[in-house]
Amino acid sequence: MLTSWCQRPDQTCDGVRITKGTIAVGKQLKLLLVVLLCVLTVASGAAFIFAATRPSTAYDSSKVKLDVKLLTRNEIITAAYKTYGDNSQDMWVAKTIIKNVGKIPVRDFKISYKVGDLTDWNSGETYAEIRPGETVRDYCWPPLNPDKINAITTKTPVELRMKYDYEGLKEPEEESEKIFLLGKNDFVFTSLKKDDIVTFTDNFDNYRFIAAFITPNEETTKSFANMVGSGLETRASDEDALAAFHNAFNMLRAQGVKYIMEPDGFWTGEASQYVQYPWETINRQSGTCLDLAICTSALMEAVGIKSYVALIPGHAIPMIELPNSGDLYAIESTFIDQDYALSKHGDVVSADVTAQECVNLAKDEIEKAQSAGTIILVNPEYWWKAGVMPSW
């Protein structure tokens, strides 16, 4: 301030004018103070505005902004209902994409689903926190009620409902979509769009679900299989396994089972078919090539023989794998119907249309398909383990 000593009244030194009895602050100092205070006021004001406009970390549910999308499958293959209920599979019935598009985290987000009257509201998932910008994908794998599923014989619409809640929300939000459950016997060979079908395999994109129709533990099937495998070491002997294969063919024929074409009325779509479970084929004494192949496969599995269903263009053929050699044997199972075999293919079979003849015929068909690269082997044991369990 005073850098030199002022000795006289009325003398001015360094901005301080000494008058009689007073010292006055000069203009320079005032200007300096004004500038300094201006800078400080503006700076602290800016800091105040910046601080006041920061998003609050305090939870305020009114500021929650979520984008919630419910997506569903159009059709459910009801026969594979167990697969849709298994969260280790990718066969969700519905899924919800939740994105936090707000500026604060969402807490305790709970979501659950209900499929018509086939399920109750499931316990659902809870997401403790969904951060701003975060996306959550939640899947619905509903445990469908078997008794109610068994009653679905034709394509049936059901309402799939989804509700969600989070901390601070007054009432849970709910959305719904209509989905269709196919009849329990309806099978869709492929879910690929028409334009996406390019290869032979594409026509049977859902082939793994055929494993759900192969039901070796169902009572009628088991009883019939007991007769087929009676007295034979089917798990240990190749000869006995092959004999059981022949037995199944002969006993189904003895049961009066006929080969039928699928009635048009059962059509559920372009690439679909009404497929019978083994006990239905046995009880109704008729079946398509696929029904007969499935029935034979189930009987073989019931007596401990590894089996396959071979899908070739326009046809299905049952096969077995012998326990010791691992050799594969197929059989033309539609020729269980002796009348059909003789009327349509009398030139290639004897009047008896024996099981052995049908094994030989099937071998040719399989080899032909293999060389053309147009064959799919449905391995039920593999698919059961992979989650496509028998329906009943």
């Binding site: 006289r8 602050v25 994908r137 048009d264």
Partner: protein, 287 residues
């Protein structure tokens, strides 16, 4: 099997096309394995950005390219099927002739799951071969039979490289879950210091603004700020006695009154008329 028959026409065309493909592919079936580099970059909120580079031998690439040109989207139709609805964003496929590679890029929102601050990235069945902090490298050799091999068996050597967010900590591979797990800072810290201390800082800076503004007004409205001086006497200002050496002789001289003005006696303080050598009051000598 009526439906099968109805499919006959389509099947015939498909079989013809399939046979063409298989024929073309068979010659390449014994060629070296396909190498795939699958790079995943995870952001702070668990979204993944994927760059999948599948490098074929020259012949295999030519076959693949032929198919891709004939049927656009064939290779990658699984990425856009019903199963992946709503999961893949910004999908793109490039065919790189220079490296004989198919390059697929896309984003997958919500790829890592947030479980109470612990983030989980599933889908890694083998132990990582390398772990350099936030980047994990997995290697796997497997036989693939899919669109990318035109439904023939091909051996893929896949190197997956996963890069976790820069702020991730405690990353580790959990074999039981076949997953990578890591921690992220609590959500509130993502807002930063200012948001976390919003209330305290708002009050502090609000008050400071008022104080500074008040002071500014106060100073601005002062025309002159006057400070009372107790008694200005020779040798003192505002009642403070200067040190003896406060003024040098020259400086003191510089402070001498001009001619015609009065001096004051150093001893008694009486006025001394100009030009006098002695005080008329006390008789002291005037310097």
């Amino acid at each position: 099997m009526v439906s099968m028959k109805k499919l006959g026409i389509i099947t015939f065309m498909i079989v013809a096309f399939g046979t063409l493909l298989v024929t073309g592919w068979c010659s390449a079936a014994d060629k070296p394995t396909v190498t795939e580099t699958y790079k995943v970059t995870i952001n702070d909120v668990g979204d993944g950005h994927i760059v999948d580079t599948i490098k074929y031998s020259k012949d295999d690439y030519a076959t693949i390219k032929k198919v891709q040109n004939k049927k656009r989207g064939f290779l990658t139709r699984r990425y856009t099927s019903e199963d992946t609805t709503g999961e893949v964003v910004g999908f793109n496929t490039d065919m790189d002739d220079a490296t004989h590679s198919v390059i697929i890029t896309y984003d997958k929102p919500g790829m890592a799951y947030n479980e109470k601050g612990e983030w989980i990235l599933y889908g890694y069945s083998t132990k990582p071969k390398e772990d350099s902090g936030l980047t994990y490298t997995f290697e796997e050799t497997s036989t693939i039979n899919s669109e990318f091999t035109l439904f023939t068996d091909q051996v893929f050597k896949t190197t997956s490289e996963v890069t976790l967010p820069a702020s991730a900590t405690g990353a580790n591979y959990v074999a039981a879950d076949k997953a990578l797990k890591y921690q992220m800072p609590p959500a509130r810290t993502l807002y930063g210091f200012w948001a976390e201390q919003k209330a305290a800082l708002s009050v502090t800076f609000g008050l400071l603004t008022l104080v500074f503004a008040g002071l500014l007004v106060f100073v601005w409205t002062r025309k002159e700020t006057v400070v009372p001086v107790a008694a200005v006497v020779p040798g003192t200002v505002a009642g403070v006695t200067p040190p003896h050496d406060a003024l040098s002789h020259d400086e003191a001289g510089a402070a001498q009154p001009e001619k015609g003005q009065h001096q004051f006696c150093q001893h008694c303080g009486s006025k001394i008329a100009s030009g006098k050598s002695f005080c008329t009051n006390c008789g002291s000598k005037v310097d």
